[in-house]
């Protein structure tokens, strides 16, 4: 590390030496595992969701599936993992071990009950055995029992009720973990706040179907001939996570600190979550893919970034991008631009020509002799598809055009058919709506 950057954050009164936590999942299943993660540098852990012991937990087998794209493995992971299948006592003993040996690493206990007494019980035993904070699992995506997991997260009054129950049972801070399988997370987050939650964690996995077995028509993971809609995680869901965190961070009425997760693998992913309002971060799929060692790169990468920008504390970065996240009506649509090719660097693959013709503005011709695109500037839509496919980084860039510049309208294929067009200009106004 180039400079000694302090990555510590305070979150609901709990101090973390860095903002990177394992999220509640198979990667935080036992003290043996968490210990390794702490040795690697993780700042804290949200321990795998505790089970009161009332119901025995048996994980389906196999329990996960990987979604690959091209040469990239685990672009997303699909899981039908349940909450901890370990006896509650074993998990609590592991809490004690970790607190004794890693006193500077907070333990957040994830809990999930089915009714008030169970929530209260789990909250209390977690606190009594060293948990520094609680995370209420309102979001496990493949619970089928009403009043549990994401079913709670979708029944807002239950969020308030169970949060309140927990708050009344313990004195440590309480964070509610939300499901993304709703339209707007601000509303359930407000219910959690009303129940007394000190923070919101989001997102849990997105309900999805990763893949269908084409030989047997069983989606994956194929649990002996059956599958289910279950949780999708990993880099593919990052845009969804960023969106929910940003919306909650922008909601002044909510005003709670946020723990962000969903597809964090690199320091850039982490920084993006911070920029839209998260203070602490959680990760699982990145660890499932690369191991606990990813934290070295999260720490080093973020530290070097901060050193390079003379930023001394993480809180200075929290919500940095929020002022620029606006509604489309605020866009300056009179400012327009085109793409600019640094043709000396072109290798001549012509992928830009293909996408411009088939999905863009037909603004690139092709010099087959020299194997180079021939831009027709006035037709460029600035869709940027050419840049996306270009293998030469930085060769195709956006260029703003002067105000006087006009994009050429897409030509009508055959103006000879004009006389046959059945058409009248639409000139009605929308019906008046009563407003205050």
């Amino acid at each position: 590390m180039s400079k000694d950057i302090d990555l510590s954050v305070e979150f609901c009164g709990v101090n973390f030496k860095n903002p990177f936590l394992l999220s509640s999942s198979p990667v935080s299943n036992s003290a043996e595992m968490v210990e390794k993660a702490f040795d690697a540098g993780w700042g804290g852990v949200v321990f795998k969701t505790l089970n009161s012991g009332r119901l025995s937990i048996i994980h389906p087998s196999p329990r996960m599936n990987s979604i690959n794209y091209g040469n990239q493995k685990e672009v997303a992971v699909q899981n039908v993992e349940q909450i901890s299948d370990r006896p509650l006592k074993d998990n609590l003993m592991d809490f004690l071990y970790l607190k004794k040996n890693y006193p500077d690493r907070p333990i957040v206990a994830s809990i999930m009950g089915f009714f008030e007494e169970e929530w209260a019980y789990l909250a209390k035993v977690a606190e009594d055995n060293g948990a520094d904070m609680l995370e209420l699992n309102f979001s496990c995506p493949h619970m089928s029992i009403e009043g549990s997991g994401h079913k709670v997260g979708q029944s807002f009054h239950l969020i308030e009720k169970f949060t309140s129950t927990v708050k009344n049972s313990v004195s440590i801070p309480v964070m509610a973990k939300m499901t993304p399988n709703i339209t707007d997370m601000r509303e359930p987050a407000m219910y959690a706040k009303n129940g007394g939650a000190d923070a919101i964690a989001a997102i849990n996995t997105v309900r999805g179907i990763s893949q269908i077995g084409l030989d047997d028509w069983v989606p994956k993971p194929n649990v002996f001939g059956k599958s289910t809609v279950s949780g999708t995680s990993g880099p593919a869901i990052k845009p969804i996570g960023l969106k929910f965190i940003a919306e909650m961070a922008q909601c002044k009425e909510l005003g709670l600190p946020l723990s962000g997760m969903g597809g964090i693998e690199t320091w850039i992913d982490a920084l993006e979550y911070i920029a839209v309002g998260a203070t602490i971060l959680q990760a699982t799929t990145g660890v499932m893919h690369y191991g606990y060692r990813v934290v070295e790169d999260l720490i080093e990468g973020l530290s070097d970034f901060m050193a390079g920008r003379n930023i001394t504390k993480i809180t200075d970065l929290v919500g940095k991008a929020l002022p620029n996240l606006q509604e489309t009506e605020n866009f300056e649509l009179d400012r327009q631009g085109v793409v600019n090719f640094d043709m000396a660097r072109c290798i001549g693959c012509g992928q830009c020509v293909v996408v411009c013709h088939d999905a863009g503005g037909q603004a690139l011709d092709w010099d087959s002799e020299k194997r180079r695109p021939l831009p027709i500037e006035e037709k460029c839509l600035s869709c940027m598809l050419c840049q996306f496919v270009c293998p030469v980084q930085g060769m195709i860039n956006y260029k703003e055009m002067p105000n006087s510049w006009q994009r050429k309208e897409t030509a009508v294929r055959d103006s000879g058919v004009e006389k046959d067009v059945k058409y009248e200009v639409f000139n009605k106004e929308p019906p008046k709506v009563c407003s205050d």
Binding site: G70, R345, I347, G348, G350, Q351, W366, R371, P391, V392
Partner: protein, 462 residues
């Protein structure tokens, strides 16, 4: 694993199985990773450089988009010997050369920094079809006109397959006991093995092509006779089975082989006999092409004490592929460059004892664009050798014009054809491959077969 055997480093695996198998190709994961590296160029340069129009850009795109069966179909429909070409093609000077060479820029991003390994992907797809039992080509409605193909090498097989696809009943006449021509008798198994060859030939016979082995037509006017016997057209793809040699009466010298004899022996059951001749001996191979490389590679791996390669130009002018040259040197072959064979040294029993060489220097470029060797006077010397293999080019058999007396041939006995159709001067007789071109590539013979087949289809319509 290389081990020392009788003081010489050999590759035990290859030695123990008499070089019967070639190294494994790409598996599914490797092939997928490689196609994912491809940039899927517009106006793709690789496809333009395949002499047989195998359309690499198209089959790679199909594979990339998980249309694996379609990718296989593209290969096999365009090149029935797509597997053989995938293994044997000098792709580094054809499709793969075009792949990255056309990217002229300061930048070499992933996908353009080194060529996509097109040959290996192609071989994988063909092997994958065999593995999964996928049959990419359907036969068309039966037609009645019978067609004869002479020679079951790449040109003959390609022509036969193309005609069979069009519904014509085709019979291939092969003089040797097994089909394949140069694919069977002209390459070594560690480069292209029999099992692979059998599978690829099966793809041809599965289309209904009948291959008659041990059926030479080299009686007088064999080709014309086929037309008289009711075949509507004849395609001659008889190859080049005589070896160029310094001496015409070389058969009387013991221990002197042509590359044709030597390589055939390794493939046709005389392997052990050849091992006895080579083991612990000093072998001199004359020539600088891929065939010479096959000769030195096998000689050194069989256990020759020393293997010398004698070439009259220098390293840079050798026609053999760079990898073959490097592999040979790594195997311990001694390259004697800028030396030209002038005569053989034999004892009283006509057993070879060495070769007389004369030193050369490089002069101006010749018509091939390579600098010409010029003999340095008074520089003659003798290289002792127990076995000498001449690999200085194949030629047409001396009597070959007698098989088709009405067909015009040139001074080297190569058949004259119209290149765009493969038509000879005789109505109904077509020709292609090495018998027309002189020594050329498998992939070029494949194209000749296709070209002639299409011309035959047109010819039969009229």
């Amino acid at each position: 694993m290389p081990v020392t055997y009788k003081g010489w480093r050999i590759w035990t695996v290859k030695y123990e199985d008499n070089f019967k198998t070639m190294p494994k190709g790409f598996g599914y994961a490797q092939a997928t990773a490689e196609v994912n590296r491809c940039l899927l160029c517009h106006d793709a340069p690789c496809s333009k450089e395949c002499p047989a129009d195998t359309k690499p850009a198209e089959f790679i795109r199909k594979f990339r988009l998980k249309n694996v069966t379609g990718a296989i179909r593209t290969i096999k429909e365009n090149n029935i010997l797509g597997g053989a070409c995938g293994v044997l093609c000098p792709t580094n000077r054809l499709c793969e050369k075009a792949c990255s060479a056309k990217f002229v820029s300061d930048d070499k991003p992933e996908g353009a920094d080194r060529p996509i390994q097109i040959g290996k992907i192609q071989r994988f797809l063909v092997e994958y079809a065999w593995q999964t039992g996928f049959i990419p080509i359907e036969k068309k409605d039966e037609k009645t006109e019978k067609i004869a193909v002479v020679g079951s090498g790449p040109g003959g097989l390609s022509c036969a397959a193309e005609l069979a696809k069009n519904g014509y009943p085709v019979t291939i006449f092969e003089s040797r006991p097994e089909p394949g021509g140069v694919l069977r008798y002209g390459v070594i198994s560690s480069r292209f093995d029999m099992d692979f060859l059998e599978r690829e030939i099966n793809d041809v016979t599965a289309l209904g092509v009948d291959i008659q082995c041990n059926s030479p037509i080299d009686k007088k006017a064999g080709a014309e006779k086929l037309l008289d016997d009711g075949y509507s057209a004849v395609f001659m793809a008889t190859g080049l089975w005589a070896a160029a040699s310094l001496k015409n009466n070389k058969n009387e010298i013991f221990g002197l082989y042509s590359s044709v004899d030597y390589l055939s022996a390794l493939r046709d059951g005389r392997f052990n006999e050849m091992v006895e001749n080579i083991e612990d001996k000093t072998v001199a191979v004359i020539g600088g092409g891929s065939v010479a490389m096959d000769c030195i590679q096998t000689a050194s791996k069989i256990g020759a004490k020393d293997v010398y390669l004698v070439y009259r130009r220098s390293y840079a002018q050798m026609p053999a592929e760079p990898e073959e040259r490097i592999e040979a040197m790594e195997d311990g072959v001694h390259f004697i460059l800028l030396n030209q064979l002038t005569d053989y040294v034999v004892n009283k029993d006509n057993q070879i004892e060495g070769v007389k060489l004369v030193r050369t220097r490089l002069g101006d470029s010749d018509e091939s664009g390579r600098r010409k060797p010029e003999i340095i006077s008074d520089s003659e010397w003798v290289l002792d050798a127990d076995v000498v293999i001449e690999a200085i080019g194949n030629t047409a058999l001396e009597n070959s014009p007698e098989w088709y007396p009405s067909v015009t041939v040139d001074e080297k006995n190569l058949i004259k054809v119209a290149p765009e159709t493969g038509k000879t001067n005789v109505d109904g007789i077509f020709a292609g491959g090495d018998a027309v071109r002189g020594p050329a590539l498998v992939v070029q013979a494949v194209q000749d077969g296709k070209t002639a087949a299409r011309a035959i289809v047109e010819y039969l319509k009229n």
